[in-house]
Structures are given as structure tokens and as C-alpha cells.
């Protein structure tokens, strides 16, 4: 079987380092060019191409769209957006243009001073999002560690689960308290999204979205929420799974990326408006979403454990949003 090929189109030197390390870690072939037009001609017709595109400003995004718009899509012979990774800096001018594009599923925040290390780690992610349909925590997080799972059958289980994780992280003794609060907040947001925002009826109305979070809700049947966790030595990862598959890809992307750089959240912002996810990405969490329309959404947050909170906040991060029809 032929190996997948990583194709990098970027003028940024650090992106080349990143791609080389990622390809090495994923075990994939690598082709690099700084010319997007040439890159387009190198896209393989057999679906083996994983495209990495460096975007540094608005013009780069416009060029990306014009060069690759016709080759990326869901039709046969096209490159799936799931195989497209943008590498950028969340710059203010290009974010709205990026957020409205459906040509990619993965956005990598460029960290020039961590390019090699980030690339080695991201190779695992490329492998995962290219070859696996679901999110496998032990695939995206390096060993050692093991996946654990709990089910939430009532909205009050949310606080209990958070308390238990908080106690376990404290008991480890190698995670600082501020980091623990940050991690717990991230899991809390994913759980609230799964419990209150995900449930939707056949018409697409979110039945609990406007319900106060203090109102008790039975999470039985389709409403049951699963929380998986991987408390590894170097990485901590958590997946929250709901059975509705109602994720709105562009809305999530818009909030997460906008929140990273722009300062537009105001008092009065409605519940579910993405502040929690934006905060999670802002403080260092990587986010992976896999959503099967009407079936399930897996929302994952990954943090690298660092020695200091300063390093924690400056850690490499990315967002991946893959949506599928069941």
C-alpha cells in the first residue's frame, strides 16, 4: 500500500521544519514547495495527499482559496477538507476570511520557536485525523497512559466528574493549581456543550440551550454523555461524546479563532456563544471535534503538561473540526 504524502505549500521557513518533523513522526512521504500554484499540481489524484498550507496574511488566504478551491471538496476525485491543514498565526486580518472557508478541517497555530517539537507531536495528529474516523485518545497522546471512561446520567454528574478529575490531578503533584483550574474549565465547557447545547430536535432546535445550567436534567438514553480521559505523563486529554451530532463547524471555528486574537466578546453575550471554547484555545488547549451529523459528536481537548504556567500558556496548539454525514 502506498504511503500518504504530506504536501507543504508555505513560504515560512519554520513551516518546513514543522512539516519535516511531522512527516517523519507520521511515517509519511513529504513534498515541500513555497509556490501554491506548483503545490496544486502536486496533489495526488488517489486521495493520499495531506495538504499543509502556510498562511501568513490575508493575501495568503485569498491565494489558498483561489489555488486550491477547485481541488478541495467532498466529491469524488477531490481532496477532502479533513486532509487540509492551515498553518497560521491567527492574525486579525485573515481570521474572518479563514473562519468562513470550508476548504480545511485543521488549523495549526504557528509557533516558530517550537516548530520541530510541535511537528513531531503533530505527526501523530495528522496520522489520526487522516487515517482514523474517530478520536482515539491513545492515538493522539503519546504513551504512557491509558484511556478511562465515565458516563454522565444526570446533569449533576458534571460537577462530580470535574471534582474527581481535579482531585486526581492534585494528587499527582506534578500539575500546578492554576493549570488544574484551566484544565477543569476546559472539560467543564465541553461537558456543558454536550449536555445543554448538543441536544436538538429534528428541526434543529437546541432544546436545552436556554435552560439555566442550575436546572437538573436527566441524561438518560440519547442524552447520556460519555467522558473519556487520558492522564498521560506528558499530555492530558479529554473527550466528551454526545449522541446528537449537531456541531456547527463554522460557528465553533469562528469563535475559537476569533477569541484567540480579537477582543469582541461583550457583556450580554448569549450562552453557548463560544467563550468557553475560545478561552480553552487561548490558554493552550488544542481542540479536536469529530461530528457525525445526527449521530454523535466527539469533542476533545488536549494539553501538554509543562513545568510552569508560563510554558503552559505558550504551548503549541491546533484545532481540528471534522464533520461527516452518517
Amino acid at each position: 500500500m502506498l504511503k500518504p504524502m504530506i504536501l507543504l505549500a508555505s513560504k515560512v521557513a519554520e513551516d518546513r521544519v514543522f512539516a519535516e518533523e511531522a512527516a517523519g513522526a507520521a511515517g509519511f512521504d513529504l513534498v515541500m514547495t513555497d509556490d501554491p500554484q506548483e503545490a496544486r499540481t502536486r496533489v495526488l489524484p488517489d486521495g493520499r495527499t495531506i495538504l499543509l498550507v502556510g498562511v501568513d496574511n490575508l493575501q495568503d488566504v485569498v491565494d489558498f482559496k483561489s489555488h486550491f478551491g477547485e481541488v478541495i471538496g467532498e466529491g469524488s476525485g477531490k481532496l477532502s477538507p479533513c486532509f487540509v491543514h492551515l498553518i497560521g498565526t491567527c492574525g486579525e486580518e485573515e481570521i474572518s476570511e479563514i473562519s468562513e472557508s470550508n476548504l480545511f478541517a485543521n488549523y495549526v497555530l504557528r509557533m516558530p520557536d517550537q516548530a520541530a517539537e510541535a511537528g513531531r507531536y503533530y505527526g501523530r495528529i495528522i496520522h489520526q485525523v487522516s487515517l482514523k474516523k474517530d478520536t482515539e485518545l491513545d492515538g493522539i497522546v503519546p504513551p504512557p497512559g491509558q484511556v478511562e471512561s465515565v458516563r454522565l446520567n444526570h446533569s449533576s454528574d458534571r460537577a462530580k466528574a470535574l471534582d474527581q478529575i481535579q482531585e486526581r490531578l492534585k494528587a499527582r503533584g506534578d500539575v500546578h493549581e492554576r493549570v488544574i483550574h484551566t484544565i477543569i474549565n476546559a472539560i467543564d465547557e465541553l461537558l456543558m456543550n454536550a449536555i445543554y447545547d448538543a441536544p436538538s430536535d429534528e428541526g434543529g432546535d437546541q432544546k436545552f440551550r436556554k435552560v439555566a445550567r442550575t436546572v437538573p436534567i436527566d441524561l438518560t438514553g440519547k442524552h447520556t454523555v460519555e467522558l473519556r480521559m487520558f492522564l498521560g505523563a506528558d499530555y492530558l486529554a479529554f473527550t466528551v461524546i454526545d449522541s446528537f451530532g449537531s456541531l456547527k463547524r463554522n460557528e465553533v471555528l469562528k469563535h475559537v479563532l476569533r477569541g484567540y486574537e480579537l477582543k469582541k466578546y461583550e457583556a450580554g453575550t448569549q450562552a453557548g456563544a463560544g467563550i468557553g471554547l475560545a478561552n480553552t484555545f487561548h490558554v493552550g488547549g488544542s481542540l479536536l471535534f469529530v461530528s457525525e451529523l445526527g449521530q454523535k459528536t466527539e469533542a476533545t481537548v488536549v494539553f501538554r503538561k509543562t513545568g510552569t504556567y508560563k510554558e503552559f500558556k505558550k504551548q503549541f496548539r491546533f484545532i481540528s473540526i471534522r464533520t461527516h454525514r452518517a
Partner: protein, 175 residues
């Protein structure tokens, strides 16, 4: 003479109030989430006698805000500053963290803050602690916060600044 009472409480948070003739001080502790009811707290303040002219906020011991708590807090501050003069007696780390992503948590007016905290981490014993600073303690004539290395209160080892400078800069810009 002061009158201390609890304005809001759950098993995860507490908002204490101390009313003195010149000002009301609210001290927040724990997790600010859906249990925080901004309307109830505001009504309790409005019902106080004598009515305070200044409301001082101490957020040092707030551990975290979840998104529901953040929105409630932003609405609380907006409504509070429309009726009272709001002064942050001390701005804790959990609130400073929001300065560059959700500035509405500080209200719409220029922030009046008496103190804020800068976190430091001891490389010797691992203790993380806060330096309590006045806004005037940060100026071009003094070393930047990441150039200061205060002694750890536990083992006296010089400690390192332990957050990203951008967040604190974003906060200081609002003062």
C-alpha cells in the same frame, strides 16, 4: 463599625460583603459559575442601608470562572457600575486572565484598581505565589515583571514570573 454578611453562597463559591460608611467591599471566593446570580447580589446591594457610594471588589481568591459565570459576572459589573462607583481593591489572576479575551468582565469604564497580582513560581521548592502590586509599581523606570525575581516566601529562592506577559500587559492597558 462594619456590617459583614454573605450575599451569595453555594458549595463552590461565596460572596461576602462588608459595609462601612464609605464603601461596600465584596470578597469573592471559589468558582464563579451558574450558581452566581448577579441579579440577587445587585438587589442585596441596592437594599443596603446606608446605600454605599463605592463598591470595592476583592477577587483575589476566585479560583476560576466558567463561561456561564463569566457572562453573569460581565452583566453584574455592567449593572453595578451603572449605579455605583466600582473599585477593584485587588484583581486576582482568574480575572486578569480574561483581560485580553473577554474584557467586559472589567466593565465598560476605565478600570480603577488599587492592587493586582503577578504570579511567580519558585524553581527551588515549586511554590507558586503572588506579588501584590499597585498599578504604579509597573512603570518604565522599574524592571519589567518578568525581570523581577522575588524571594519565595517558603524557601527564599528567587522565583520566576509565571504567566505570559501579554495577558498582564492587556490588563494594565485597561487601567
Amino acid at each position: 463599625m462594619s456590617d459583614a454578611k454573605i450575599l451569595s453562597q453555594s458549595d463552590r463559591h461565596q460572596i461576602g460583603a462588608t459595609l462601612k460608611p464609605d464603601a461596600l467591599t465584596l470578597t469573592l471566593q471559589g468558582l464563579i459559575n451558574e450558581d452566581f446570580n448577579p441579579d440577587a447580589v445587585l438587589q442585596a446591594i441596592d437594599a443596603m442601608s446606608p446605600k454605599p457610594k463605592i463598591v470595592r471588589l476583592d477577587t483575589l481568591t476566585v479560583e476560576r470562572f466558567n463561561s456561564v459565570g463569566l457572562r453573569a459576572w460581565a452583566i453584574f459589573i455592567r449593572d453595578l457600575e451603572s449605579k455605583y462607583n466600582v473599585v477593584f481593591s485587588i484583581v486576582g489572576e482568574a480575572l486578569i486572565e480574561q483581560a485580553d479575551i473577554f474584557p467586559a468582565v472589567f466593565g465598560r469604564k476605565k478600570i480603577v484598581a488599587e492592587h493586582f497580582v503577578a504570579p511567580y513560581l519558585c524553581g527551588g521548592c515549586g511554590q507558586r505565589f503572588f506579588m501584590k502590586l499597585k498599578p504604579t509599581d509597573v512603570n518604565p523606570l522599574l524592571p519589567a515583571l518578568d525581570q523581577r525575581h522575588p524571594g519565595c516566601p517558603k524557601c527564599s529562592t528567587p522565583a520566576d514570573f509565571d504567566t505570559d506577559e501579554e495577558t498582564l500587559i492587556a490588563f494594565l492597558r485597561k487601567l
